[in-house]
């Protein structure tokens, strides 16, 4: 890879890595696993960067690698889990801060592929067609998975006492 291409890859990472880390966090439910997942996806992307960059928007490729890698992992990183001394403060908008932990738990209870559908559809705001293309399945499958996921999440989150005070979940 030449210097210009590597500079392009570096610029892409600087602009997109934070978002990828948040998506990875939703997919894995753990900061350490999320960072490993993003790093793995970036490594796979870097190997083919010239071709990916030439095709246009690289984020679609990275997102696909992120999701397919996440769904194929079997928690093999558990033995190498890293412990942080302190979690840095990050400014973010959280309308239901008391529910976030419960949301992560509920997400993690979903099967990996169903979890990926939820994250892509309702966090990344991809269309059903884009989600289907990214996951390599039909739109019908995305609809089915999405519907089942909503049912499960409603049930899980409604049962959580932490969510009841707001009354927003029914």
């Amino acid at each position: 890879m030449d210097i210009d291409a590597e500079a392009g890859f570096r610029e892409f990472v600087v602009h997109r890595r934070a978002g990828l880390l948040r998506t990875a966090y939703l997919l894995t439910g753990d900061d350490g696993h999320a960072e490993d997942l993003v790093q793995t996806a970036l490594l796979k992307t870097y190997r083919h960067w010239n071709r990916i960059a030439a095709q246009g928007e690289p984020i679609a490729y990275v997102r696909r690698v992120l999701v397919t890698t996440a769904t194929s992992w079997r928690r093999r990183l558990l033995s190498t889990e890293q412990v942080m001394d302190a979690v840095p403060e990050q400014a973010h908008y959280d309308r239901y801060p008391e529910r976030s932990a419960a949301v992560i738990d509920a997400l993690h209870a979903l099967p990996p592929r169903m979890r990926a559908v939820v994250v892509l559809r309702f966090y990344e705001d991809l269309t059903e067609a884009q989600t289907a293309e990214l996951l390599g399945c039909s739109v019908g499958t995305v609809k089915t998975q999405s519907s089942r996921a909503m049912t499960r999440l409603r049930s899980a989150l409604a049962a959580d006492p932490a969510l009841r005070p707001t009354g927003g979940v029914a």
Binding site: L21, Y25, D31, V38, L43, H92, Y93, F122, D125, G168
Partner: protein, 294 residues
């Protein structure tokens, strides 16, 4: 819970995560370094594979003791056999040579026409009279040879074919050991040398090897004794050297029948109270050991 509420929940939850140990630049550096390491590893593996493939291709053609190596020498040798001078103690006896040329071969199909035959060797060795007749057959144009044997001093016209007809694609021809105690006669090009390994040597560490000793060769004729040949062959291996390189390596040929079988060794039971081994079992075990000793 509506889809919009789920979106809010997901964005809120995602914001709590996304904390990384590495900053962006360090993460890129780690990716670049890992990719370079993997690329170097792949290159090294490919280089090793290429070297192994190169060795596999080149070694058989340059290794001095390989049987497949001397293709070029063999090709020239098969024609050179017909140019070999006549050797042996009766090499100058024209009548004897003429008589030997007319002898019957063991396999007439592979026998050259008499006018195409020539005698490569005729003479007496310890215990017998031997002759080698060679020629190019009409069937396939191959050069074949047939050894003949008889008692010392026997009329050349009474010699009989010994062993099968030999296709002389090699750099040498060896007489068969026709009886226990017979000598081995190896005929080569006049300047070639002959070495003999009587048997496989097994080291104390279990390693297997052969030791070759030079056989006195006079004008391309080597005559030597052979240790304990059996109906199944001999543990001996002879090889021919040209300019210091091995151009041919073959087992000592043996052609005598069952009437010449050596008596099996007497085996006493390790347990003094045990019974004598069944003779057939001993014979079977010895056959298994001697069938292909090297």
């Amino acid at each position: 819970m509506t889809e919009d509420e789920l979106r809010d929940l997901l964005h809120g939850a995602a914001g709590r995560g996304g904390v990384a140990l590495l900053d962006d630049d360090t993460a890129v550096d780690a990716v670049v370094e890992t990719a370079a390491t993997q690329r170097r590893r792949r290159t090294a593996v490919l280089a090793v594979a290429a070297c192994l493939a190169l060795i596999a291709v080149t070694v058989p053609t340059v290794w001095p003791s390989g049987r497949t190596a001397p293709d070029r020498e063999v090709a020239s040798a098969s024609a050179a056999v017909l140019e070999w001078p006549v050797r042996g103690s009766l090499a100058d006896d024209t009548a004897a040579l003429e008589a030997v040329r007319g002898l019957d071969w063991s396999e007439p199909l592979w026998a050259p026409a008499i006018e195409n035959r020539r005698v490569a060797y005729l003479g007496d060795v310890e215990g017998s009279r031997r002759a080698l007749v060679v020629g190019r057959t009409d069937v396939s144009g191959a050069v074949t040879g047939q050894w003949f044997t008889g008692a010392p001093g026997a009329d050349p016209a009474t010699l009989v074919a010994e062993g099968a007809v030999e296709r002389l694609e090699d750099a040498a021809s060896a007489s068969h050991v026709a009886a226990p105690g017979d000598v081995l006669v190896v005929l080569t090009a006049p300047d070639d040398a002959v070495e003999l390994s009587p048997r496989v040597e097994v080291g104390a560490d279990g390693s297997v090897a052969r030791d070759f000793a030079p056989v006195e060769t006079d004008d391309g004729v080597a005559v030597t004794g052979v240790d304990r040949p059996t109906v199944h062959g001999s543990a001996g291996l002879y090889r021919v050297l040209r300019d210091g390189a091995v151009v041919e390596s073959r087992p000592v040929p043996v052609s005598f029948g069952g009437e010449h079988v050596w008596d099996p060794p007497l085996l006493a039971p390790l347990d003094p109270a045990g019974e004598e081994p069944v003779p057939e079992a001993v014979d079977l075990a010895l056959q298994g050991c001697w069938r292909r000793p090297g």
